[in-house]
Structure formats: C-alpha cells, structure tokens
Symmetry: C2
Subunit: 559 residues, 2 copies
C-alpha cells in the first residue's frame, strides 16, 4: 500500500488568505488555516508612518506583504495541525481574487515596497474592487466599439472598470512616473506564484477573463492600445508577457526561500495561478459541459464549460482553457445576491423580529426563512428586480437599481425577504436562458459557496424557478480545494498526483447526497411570475424607461 500524499491549496480572498491541506486519493480536507490580512482592504489611508496619504473614493488597495505573510503563517500551520511530513506534500496551487494587479520591478519587487514610490497609491496593489478606473474603462469600451474590436464579443460587449487594462491605464493617466518605473504590471495571482517559484509565469485564466487575451488571437493589437494613449502602445511587450501558461500546467518549483517561508520541501511542484471562482468549478465536480456551477455568496458567479466559443449576451467572459484545459470556460454573474439579503436584514427588520429570533435561538435570516418557507409561490403578491448592486449579467449595467412592486398595507418583512430571494432566482434564470439561447447547454446546476448551506428555502426556490435539478458541492471551501487539486496536477501522476484535472476531480471531489428538484406545481406559478419579471427586466433594463439612471443622475447632482 502506497503512503498517502497531500497537496496544499491557498485561496487569497479579499480579507484573508486560507490554506487547505488535502489528501490526494480521497480529497479529504485534512487541515485548514486562515490568515486575516494585516491591512486587509486599504480604502482610506495608506498603511504608512508619517503624514497620512488619503485615498480617493472608489479606491481599494492591498499590501503585497500580506500575501507573503499568508504563505508564512498558514502553510506551517496546516502542516503542524495535520502532522504531515513536508516530503508527503507533493504540490501546491493558489487561487486569487481578480483582477487584482500591481506594478513591480524586474526582480518582482513591488513598487510600493520601495521607499521612493511607497507614498504613491498607484504603487500599491489595486484590489479587484478598486472602482476608480471607470473613466479608463469607458474609454476602452468606446474605443473598442468604435474600432469594431472583435474581442469585445467575448465579454458580453463591455469590459469592466475592475479589469486589467482599465487599472493599468489609470496608472498611466494619473501617475505616469509609476507607470514608467514599473518594469512589469502583473496579476497578484501570478505574482505570488513568482514569489514561490522565482519565475514569472502568467496564467490563461486572468489573461483571458481580465486582460482580453485569447488562445487564438492573443492580446488586442498594439494599435488598439495606441489609440487609447500613445504611451500605452507597447504595454504588452514592455510591461507584460505574450507567453501565457494554461491553467493545469506546472509553473515551477518551490525556491529555497519559499521553502523556508512555508516549511515545505524545496522543489515542491507549484501550479500555474488561478482565480477563486474558476478553480471552484472542478472542485465542485464539474469538468464537462452542461453542468453550471453557481458560487453563491454575497454575489453569484455562474461558471459553465462548453465545447465551442459562442457569443452570449452579457456574460463576463468566455476563455479557452479558462477553467479547464481543452474547453471554453464561460463566466457570468449576478452582482448582488447575499448582499441584498444582508442589506434587508440590516436595514428593514423590526425589533420584534430580532427579539423573536433571539427568543427562538435563530438568526434573523433563519427566522425570515422559517416564516417565508410556508408560503406558496406568489402568495405574498410581490415581485422585485434584484439590482440593488447593479446588474452584471446579462445587462452589464452598474447604474441599474433595485425595485419592489406589489406592496400593500398587509405586506410583512418575510414577504419582502422571500420576494428578494425569488428575484435573484429569476436573475439566475435570465442568465441560464441567455446561455441556452446561444447553444451553450445547461442541464443541471451545482451549487457551492455559503448560501446553499444556509437556506434550504432559497435552494428550492432556485430549483423551482429555473426548472433545473440543483446538486451541492460537498466542500465548504471549494476555491482552496480547487487550488490544491491543481497542485496535484502540477505534481503529476508519478509523484502521487494526477495527470489531468478531470482525473483529479473524479478522485478528489464529491457532491452531497441531497439534491433540490423542481416541484411542478411551484414551477407553474413561477412561470407566470418569471414572465412578469422579464417584462420589468426588459422595460427598466433595456431602455424602455431609464428612470434608474435618471434617479442616480439626480442623486449624484444633489450629493
């Protein structure tokens, strides 16, 4: 009998980093450790001595040293907890938020770690939710539309201010000296792999989803970048790399220094970097077309594999090798889901409900679920548009806002709560139908993330509204598990890992026994309600009535 081998996945989140140590044969998650970043999200002042450097609104930065500390704290921790010898750790993989990017020198040193640049906010890591590059995103979109850039179709017709070139162009616009000083502009995902391996390897996932790269066409042409700014013409060749590694490849091996940080063996295989949502797909058992993964939390990411590249309205992106090698990875999303329910519970729940929750030993969400679960579909008489945080797919419009219709003097908090949940389910159905309409199959849904654990009513509503079976991933930490799985592929079969992610998923992942199936009598009512949702969705979302934008304009003028 061969000895057990292990892999480590490190998931770099918004507030903390997490390492999971996983047994390669069974996928058993043996130990977990979390490091809450010292500086977490930097959105007010730079974390420095001396005269404070204040940030503008919409800024969100991070400190790259927090990433190194994540390795230093969590990996020795999981090794110690599990009592595993470093020799038995055969590989490591990481996933990251994206696009989270930073300017560095040729040797990988972040500019923010150099005294001469550290007081310039543009020298720091721009976190995914840094939203101050909207003017640059607008410029990129306008130029791409005007020039008829074909790559725009792969991103639902619009790129986001969160993405790579918007952020890079903002550095050039606002801090040309930082742009000039930066030898490299790089995703934090690739940067941490560089720190582990000593080699700069860029991954196909962030390149594809966040930097308009495709396996077939590469990056947009230099003259497109020149059209944005002459100084931006050679951004790829001067600051980036045209050589993109497919996820699933090995990036390199652990350096002596990284071995010292982590307590792992020098030479341990390191996987090409990946992104949290994307790495969750195989971790949720999905390595083939037809099964959509929903990562359900504050927002929902909808991840789907396809055999071909199709243009689907309002998706975030389609990238060959973007999720698993050899297939086209589709990503779509809803920008507000759990966030909306949290807003409701924080702002709209009367004292009696709080007290009732405390008296019955429930959380407020649980109490609301309990009260709403006995209702039949449609019984509350309400309908909502789930746009409290704008609409990502399929309308791709941050200026849309939330709507509730049907309120009467008899409307109760649990009615609104249920209507909000239903609205997010309708939003998911719109996305599914956009895929299906364009020939990308969606046969069943696989859910992971926090929400499926917390709210059975919600899951049943999603099944009833979409008419699809919903299965649940058995892992509560799919991103870290997925990263570990790519570590096993980087290590390879000989070392005790696997040769492909498909094979890895077969061994290391499973679904829960429970499954949510559509209930036909509920489906019938939700058909009618969904038709009403679509009518409102199109009226307010496709220009029939632009009141949501007008209200925001009036609000901004007043503020």
């Amino acid at each position: 009998m061969s000895k057990c081998k292990y892999v480590i996945g490190v998931d770099f989140g918004t507030e903390s980093g997490r390492a999971v140590l996983v047994e390669t044969k069974t996928g058993q998650e043996t130990a977990t450790a979390i490091y809450p970043y010292k500086h977490a999200v930097i959105d007010e002042i730079l974390p420095m001595e001396g005269e404070p450097v204040k940030l503008e609104p919409e800024w969100a930065l991070q400190d790259p040293e927090d990433y190194i500390r994540t390795f230093q704290k969590t990996i020795p921790d999981v090794l110690a907890r599990a009592g595993i010898h470093p020799e038995d750790i055969i590989g490591i993989g990481i996933d990251f938020t994206a696009c989270t990017m930073l300017p560095v020198k040729n040797d990988g040193t972040p500019l923010c770690m150099l005294a001469e640049y550290s007081r310039n906010p543009h020298a720091w890591v721009k976190l995914w939710k840094h939203h101050a590059a909207q003017p640059e995103a607008n410029k990129i979109n306008a130029a791409a539309r005007q020039r008829g850039e074909k790559w725009l179709d792969r991103y639902g017709g619009k790129i986001s201010s969160e993405w790579f070139f918007a952020k890079a162009l903002q550095i050039l616009d606002e801090a040309p000296e930082i742009y000039t000083a930066a030898d490299r502009l790089i995703e934090a995902a690739d940067w941490v792999v560089w720190q582990l391996t000593g080699v700069e390897k860029r991954n196909s996932c962030t390149a594809g989803y966040k930097a308009m790269w495709s396996k077939r066409d590469g990056f947009p042409k230099n003259d497109f970048f020149r059209s944005l700014d002459p100084r931006f013409e050679k951004v790829i060749d001067e600051k980036m790399n045209r050589s993109i590694c497919s996820i699933g490849e090995k990036a390199g091996e652990l350096t002596a220094q990284a071995a010292e940080w982590t307590g792992l063996r020098e030479g341990t295989a390191v996987a090409v970097a990946n992104v949290d949502a994307h790495v969750s797909v195989p971790a949720a058992t999905v390595t083939e077309p037809g099964r959509m993964v929903m990562i359900m939390g504050t927002s929902i990411c909808h991840m789907l594999l396809g055999d071909e590249e199709q243009a689907v309205e309002g998706m975030c992106g389609v990238v060959e090798d973007g999720i698993t090698p050899g297939l086209f990875g589709y990503e779509a999303g809803q920008s507000g889901v759990g966030d909306i329910f949290a807003w409701f519970v924080n702002n709209c729940i009367p004292e009696e409900y709080k007290n009732e929750a405390i008296d019955s030993g429930m959380g407020v969400h649980q109490l609301l679920e309990h009260k709403a679960a006995s209702q039949k579909p449609g019984q509350h008489g309400l309908l909502a548009l789930d746009w409290w945080n704008g609409n990502r797919s399929v309308l791709v419009d941050v200026d849309l806002s939330g709507l509730l219709i049907g309120a009467t003097l008899a409307t109760k908090p649990e009615d609104i709560y249920r209507a909000l949940i239903e609205a997010t389910a309708y939003g998911t159905r719109v996305i599914i139908e956009a895929f299906e309409k364009n020939g990308v199959r969606v046969d069943e849904l696989v859910a992971c993330g926090g929400l499926p654990e917390q709210n059975k009513m919600l899951m049943q509503i999603y099944a009833d509204v979409t008419g699809k079976n919903i299965k649940i991933s058995s892992s509560k930490q799919t991103p870290a598990l997925g990263s570990a799985m790519f570590g096993a592929v980087a290590a390879g079969k000989k070392a005790g890992g696997y040769d492909t992610i498909v094979e890895t998923a077969r061994h290391m992942t499973r679904l829960k026994a429970e499954m949510y199936q559509p209930i036909p009598e509920n489906q019938k009512i939700y058909e009618r309600l969904y038709a009403e949702y679509v009518k409102l969705h199109d009226y307010f979302g496709r220009g029939g009535n632009n009141i949501m934008k007008t209200l925001k304009q009036i609000r901004d003028a007043a503020g």
Copy 2:
C-alpha cells in the same frame, strides 16, 4: 354687550364620537368630550348574547345605540365642563362617516334593535368601510356604463363598493327579508338627526356623494334600478326620499326626548346632517373656489369648491350644494397616506432606530423626519408609487399596489421614508393637475387633520412638489368645529348665530400664522422627479403593464 352664545358640533367617527362646544362670535373651542363607542367597528361577531353570529371577511358594522350614547355622554359633559347654561346653546350640528347606512322601520327604529331581525347582520349599520358589496358595485358600474348613464361622469366614471346603492343592493341580494322589512334605508348621518328632531330629513351631501343624486337631475331613474334587480326598481320611492335638504338648512328642533338625552333645551335648532370631510371645508376657512382643503391623516381627502360642474378624471364626486350652498363641491382623495408611513414604521424599522428614538426622546416618525429632513430632494435616489392601499384618485383602482424603485445597498430607512412621503405628494399633485386641466382652479392649499401638526418636512415637501402655498387650519378638530358652525347657521342670526356658512366661517375660523411656501431650488428637482413619477403612474396605472393586478390574481389564487 350681548351675552356669548354657543353651538355644539358632534363628529361621529369610526371608533368614537366627539362633541365640541364653540363660542359663536370667535369660534373659540370651549370644551370637548369624546365617547369611545362600546362596540366600535363590528367585524368579527355580532355583539349579542347566545350562539355567536360570525361575519364574513370585508364586513364592517356598527351599533346605532352607540350613536345615541354619544349624544347622552358627550353633550352633558361639554356643558358641565364649560359651565354653560343650556339656554345659551343656540344650535347643534352633526357630521358622520359616509356612506354609513342602516335599515329602519317607519318610526326610525333600526331593524337590528328588533328581536326578530337582530341576529341577521344585514339588520345592522353598514359602516363606510364595509367592503363586502363589491359584487353589487361591479354590477352597478357595469350597468351604468352599458346604459351610458350620464351621472357616472360626476363620480370619475366609477362608483365605490362603499356607497349607498351597493350596500342597499347587497341587503336585497343576500337578505331579501331584511330589505322587505326595512321601511327606510337611510344614512346614519340623517338617522341621528332624525333621532334629535323627530323628523326624517335627508342631506344633499351624502345624497350627492354617495347616492348618485344631483340637484338638477335627482336620483338615477327607476328603470336603471330595475335593470339591476326588478325588486330594486322603486328603492327611492319605497325606502328613501326624493326630497333632499341642502346642507346649511335647519333640519328641525330638539325633541323633548333628545333634550332629556343631552341636557339641552327642547327646541334647540338642529342642522341638516353633514359628512366629516365636507364639513371640514368651511371649518378650514374655505367657502370660495380656488382653495383646496386637504384633510391629511391615514388618507387624504381633497375638497374643492367650484362655480361650475366639470367632469374631472377620477374624482370621488362633484355635488351642487355638496359642501357649501350655492357652489359645486368637488371631492377627490388618496386612499393611503399616513397609513403607508405607519406600515413602514411598523414593518421596516430596525431595532437601532427604535433605540435611537427612545434615547433621544423622539417618536420613530420624528426620528425618521429628523434624519431625512437634511437631505436635498433626490439625494436618496429613490422613487415610489404611493399605492399601498390602491389608488382612489385619479385612477380609481383598488387593485393597484405599492412600488419602490432605485434601491441600492446604501439605501437607509430614512431614505425610503422620505421617498414614501414624496410619493404621496406626487399623488396629490396628480389630483391637483386633474382639476386644473378641467378648469377647476387650485390657487392654494389649506391643510387640516393630524399630519400637518406632526411633520413639517412633509408639509414642505408638499409645497415644493405641488408648487402651491400651504396654509394650516388652526383647529385640530375641524369636523366637529364645522358641524358646530352649521349649527350656528341653523340657529340663524336672530338667535345669535349666522345666516350663511360664509359669514360663519369669517367669524368662527382662522388659519395658523405659519405657511409653507415652495422653495424654488427644490421645485426644480421635484419637477424632474415628478415627471418620472407620472411616467410610472401611467405605465402601471393605465394599462401599460398590468403586473400589479396580475400579482394580486396570483396571490389570491395561491391564498
């Protein structure tokens, strides 16, 4: 110097009756007494011994003995409090909710007071908010439309289930034995005057607003009633009276028995009955065209005088001599105003706000006003349709419901509160514009009722949204004061009263010194927001999208 003379007004509300004793020269309100009805609103079981008689949903009854007890309790009380000799009370007037009606014998005895009928709910008083006669109202509306009845225009094209013939026809439909046993069907307003004077005198206000009577054309023709039901053909001649007394006339004099009940002098002048909203108009200083009275509480009644009869969309009614003799009285209304704010405070206010209100010694409404008052118009980014309780004017549609649009994750309770207040102000502006569009002048607004006292922000918003100056009645009990004023007219000048209500209003009423004037910079923003409100109002209210009705249908099918 002549000795002071006094009049008494008795206001019959939904839950209680109230008497006010007023000095005729100055209108000073010298004493007030309230009698909470023993049986208040009867909506579950009849208040009787023996096997309980349960009521169907939507029923709302009253006990006529509560009205007699109101006279017996409150009038002696105000006399005692004020220390006034009955000789110095020269007149009495009453106002009532309407349509509140009952079946009685020829001698005025209510059928519910006779043992043989008392266990039949149809023998009792049907209160204004008895809503179980909707099928009859539908039948009346359909027949009137089909026959092209011209009187329908005077009621905005639709009569309500609350009105006289809907209620009368429900008795005939469901309890023909009660219909047959009833010698008279009569407004409770006229019935209490009958009890005071011994004579049946019917008033022009309820006849006009609730029983489709007009000074020029009388009641609808017998063949219209026959078209509803052959047994209903002669309802006017058999159960009612074609002789209608104008409000402002004297109905009669206090009988010996009524003098005994009240402690007043036998022979004291009694005014023709009146309705709470209508009698408030002269009490709020208004006896001429151009000044709209808004009675602002749970709902708003909009009362306006005009020189001519005009058809105005969606108004509740136009009646010659309906408010003051010699003019056309227009009534319109919003079915939910204070009710919506109360719903919001009861269902949507988090614990922290309740605690903050307690800590700062405010009510929750006051706290929300405090938090919202510093906002500029439009700053919250929200807009609402104020239809939580349907729409009375101008759409006349109980199946409409509430809408909130523009919510984001940053939306706060005070934002929604302010948006709801603004929505009711937009609703009032729609009504004002309907009048103005049809040549009925609205030069300024005069507010009375509970809301103007409670919320200065609300009043300023109404001024800013409507672009009209708003003055405030100085009386907090305008209906009772108005009734007392009609008592002074019934007594006449010789007795120490007045000859006309115009003259009475000049002496007995006043406005507060404070006035709300539109602030031009706010008006400018509200112009834009109101345009958005009207667009939504018409889209959801005039058939562009019938989702509100669909949601109610689905709700009713589910329930």
